[in-house]
Amino acid sequence: MDNIYTPYLMNISDVTDEAPGVRTFRLNFQNEDEGKNFKFQAGQFALYSAFGYGESTFCIASSPTRKDYVECTFRQAGRVTNALSELNAGDTIGFRGPYGNVFPIEEWEGKNLVFVAGGIALPPLRSVIWNCLDLRDKYKNITIVYGAKTVADLVYKNELKEWTARDDVNLVTTVDPGGETPDWTGKVGFVPTVVEETAPDSKDTIAIVCGPPIMIKFTLPVLEKLGFKQDKVYTTLENRMKCGLGKCGRCNIGCTYICKEGPVFTAEEISKMPDEF
């Protein structure tokens, strides 16, 4: 019988420093057959292991349309992420996944999309953003509102430039007051305020929001005020996880296991959960 806790072995083929303490790994399967059979969809997550230190949970940050590799972006914060950040291109890491549910991007076809992300929460949305951009014809207007504390804290700086240059994407970047630099050309202000100023009409529009709890808390009412119905607003949740498979018993909010029934939820689904975020 297969061991559900055994990770795939993957090579780190590329390392990118995104922001202070934030790094992206590009990963390739060591076993080619495993790589060929591997499939995932935007929104899913995985457990990444630094052997000798343990496993840590993050979303898959690359798009399923880019089939040759998997990417993850993480902030150095605890034991495992510090150990991961010690690894270099050519080193081996463990990868267990994909787990969880997905963004229903087929249901969104023919609609406008507005992505709202704060800080280190752009990586979970990057997968679905690129997925939709790679299928650009299927969607109408695409708006991305992205904010961070400071200019230095913005992740994927090259991709932000790429999205700015594209005329089929409307990117709005913002930093918290005091986080701007003299040459900063984006907005200064908190994400909820900027969303209120820049979000497109809610008609025929899906909003996808991810960020720290405080940002979500203040952004959802703004979207509601702009006329977004709760079932048209999506987010992805995270909780501490160990197995990712619904067995270790800690990631639940009420009856809902984030690892199995999530991590993607609509605002409507979240409104029905008990207040234990």
């Binding site: 019988m1 297969d2 061991n3 559900i4 806790y5 055994t6 990770p7 072995l9 292991s49 052997f51 000798g52 230190y53 343990g54 496993e55 914060a77 605890g78 992420t81 050519g90 080193d91 081996t92 463990g94 720290p212 709890p213 995270e238 909780n239 501490r240 160990k242 197995c243 498979l245 619904g246 067995k247 270790c248 018993g249 800690r250 639940n252 909010i253 009420g254 009856c255 199995k260 008990p274 207040d275 234990e276 975020f277």
Partner: protein, 344 residues
């Protein structure tokens, strides 16, 4: 299949099991504690007790177990799968409540994908239960739809019918196979109706009233009131036969390591602590509520089973004298309007 087992035949039974290649686990008195542990001789088995201090759980979900090993060599890692963890064994003399916990937990360990460490042990281990002929004030199996002679989860059920004789009833094919393997040890069933010596366990609360109350009262002052004395030691979760939460950690030297699964518990602050410092269950009343909700609401909704068998261990070991059946009694008799407290 029905048989009887005379106490004088116990020696032959335990020797027989050994000869057939079974490891035997049974209650044994050790330093004044009655513990389910491996035994070699029939003399070691202890009978005259209400409950063992440890539950049957650790023979299926060990306190700590290796789920994989690895060797790190420069940039390469090789993984080795653990083998031989499921040892052909018989648990002899566990209580019906412990046995009943196993099919309940099969559901979570089989949820969508199978945890082979649990399932392969389930296949390798045969459960021979002895029905309870006595109980104490902590027992509440009858309040959670079980009984001192419940059959759920047992392969063979023994019931005392006289001071030196047990009635033997097989409940599964596996149990029947075991009895057939050791046929000479058992006698023919008694003629007439045997006098089953089974304890009377008082019913403490109406289980049907518990979930409807929980459905309405996620926010209620009772959670804080009842859990004020909880010190968060987690002993309740460790002795519980149905608490199955675990942690996964790496234990490693320079180049070799094991990934291990360790018991964990929802009563610990660290259990849900995010790396950012945020904790969705930051206070003890939230963690106590999680324990009750998981057992009597969430698990019921997911798997159609209460995650509690009424063994009473959690209340027996609690250093702060918290009693889960008292809590459930309060809940099931609460007729009043919910008195919500606002969350800060």
């Amino acid at each position: 299949m029905e048989k009887t087992l005379k106490k004088e035949k116990l020696n032959s039974l335990i020797t027989g099991l050994k000869d057939k290649g079974y490891k035997t686990i049974a209650p044994k008195k050790d330093n004044n504690l009655i513990t389910l542990c491996e035994i070699q001789e029939a003399d070691e088995i202890h009978f005259d007790h209400v409950q063992t201090n440890n539950s049957i759980k650790e023979y299926f979900l060990p306190k700590t177990e290796k789920i994989l090993s690895y060797t790190i060599e420069k940039t390469k890692v090789s993984i080795e799968e653990p083998e031989g963890f499921a040892v052909k064994s018989v648990v002899f003399g566990s209580r019906p409540c412990d046995a009943a916990s196993l099919p309940i937990m099969d559901k979570v360990f089989n949820w969508d994908c199978t945890d082979k460490f649990w399932i392969e042990r389930r296949e390798a281990i045969t459960i021979v239960t002895i029905a309870c002929d006595k109980c104490d004030s902590y027992c509440f199996c009858t309040s959670v739809c079980l009984a001192p002679d419940a059959k759920q989860g047992s392969d063979v059920l023994l019931t005392k019918i006289s001071d030196d004789e047990y009635l033997v009833e097989t409940e599964t094919e596996k149990g029947e196979g075991l009895i057939k393997e050791l046929e000479t040890v058992f006698s023919e069933p008694p003629s007439g109706t045997p006098d089953r010596q089974v304890a009377t366990v008082e019913k403490k609360f109406e289980i049907d009233k518990v979930k409807p109350w929980l459905d309405e009262n996620f926010v209620h002052k009772i959670w804080a009131e009842f859990s004020t004395k909880c010190i968060g030691c987690g002993a309740c979760t460790f002795v519980c036969p149905t608490c199955h939460c675990f942690d996964i950690v790496d234990e490693c030297t320079m180049s070799k390591g094991d990934r291990v699964k360790n018991w964990d518990g929802c009563q610990f602050k660290m259990f849900t602590l995010h790396t950012s410092g945020h904790n969705p269950r930051s206070t003890q009343d939230q963690r106590w509520r999680q324990r009750i909700m998981h057992k009597f609401k969430y698990y019921v909704e997911k798997f159609d089973n209460i995650l509690c068998v009424g063994c009473g261990r959690c209340s027996r070991v609690c250093p702060a004298d918290m009693n889960i059946s008292e809590m459930l009694e309060i809940i099931s008799t609460d007729e009043g309007q919910p008195e919500p407290v606002s969350k800060e």
